[in-house]
Chain length 218, copies 2
Amino acid sequence: MTASDERPRHERLPEPTLRRLPWYLAYLKLIRGRGETVVSSTRIGEETGVTPVQVAKDLSYINISGKTRVGYEVDALVGILDDFLGFSHAHRALLFGVGQLGAALMRDAGLGQYGLDIVAGFDVRPELVGTEIEGIPVYHIDDLPDRCPTLDATIAVITVPVEEAQRVTDQVLACGIRALWNFTPFRIRVPHNVVVQNTSIYANLAVMFNRLNSLTTR
Amino acid sequence: MTASDERPRHERLPEPTLRRLPWYLAYLKLIRGRGETVVSSTRIGEETGVTPVQVAKDLSYINISGKTRVGYEVDALVGILDDFLGFSHAHRALLFGVGQLGAALMRDAGLGQYGLDIVAGFDVRPELVGTEIEGIPVYHIDDLPDRCPTLDATIAVITVPVEEAQRVTDQVLACGIRALWNFTPFRIRVPHNVVVQNTSIYANLAVMFNRLNSLTTR
């Protein structure tokens, strides 16, 4: 297996590739846990529902190639993918809206393992402000401008109610953050040089209901 | 505004349309809350970052058309979209893996409003089995075959650890459930007549990190 030192870390990969790489990684970690040391693209493909050709192509984007008739070294591939996907580097994040979902994200140790380090929560509810969740402080949103410089975060996680989504977005942008992870079903508006990742749980639900209906009426 | 009685509820809509409809709905509910009664496709488009032509086209898929120079009636459009997207009909669901995310989904009243009614949780941890979360019972996974017929669910929510994902999937399929909402980063394997909706939070994170890197090195 080879991985160039000058691999194009910051190239804009095709999004479908970027979405498949974590599947490969999850599978590789699984078999690493079982003590396996080498794996073929055929097997990665079978286990993740992707053609072997596509697997090899996806991995070649990050300058990884398997050895003929041997395959990929599992442990090295896990390390390269973790690194490439940004999971091995801690990205400091602020979370806005400490409700059910927000609090669950703050408690989720998994996010830390995947490179997201939530360093503070913000809310307006008096019963939450001043408390801590898993050692992470919750501040009042009005304190954001003062706290922003020292918190030194690059990402905002938005888990506020829909009607607050745009206002909070504007406050986040004013404090210089340029990447927003939006869990609300609201389509927040941002300048073109800001990254928004939408993870609307309810939109996924709509897709699933529609597919289920297609299935039951077929 | 017109909405035919014979609108093609179960047609397989283009997925991009299906993903935009909840944005429109979230926006419409927002302005309904402010007392607005009519809205144009231009304004829906501006507020959701979609071209007005695309908005009109997306809505025409569900046989909704606005009145010339008047636009859409907000309240009626909310009702039609809620209904079309499956949010107004309660879909009974079982949740597997009552960890941080699983428990948060069980507590999230929002899911009920969006048509997902989680009626039971399943886990293996003795400290969880036999408890309730917001009145929803948590059972042992070994009791699934016995409980499945009376629980009468059509959807399974999968929030177990990666290494359990496929085994739980197989157990769920054995009890006749044909729609799975997979929150794990593992690519579960199912027969072709089963619906899987993947909502991998970590995959979204990878996409965001990559975009953020492109931004900071541009």
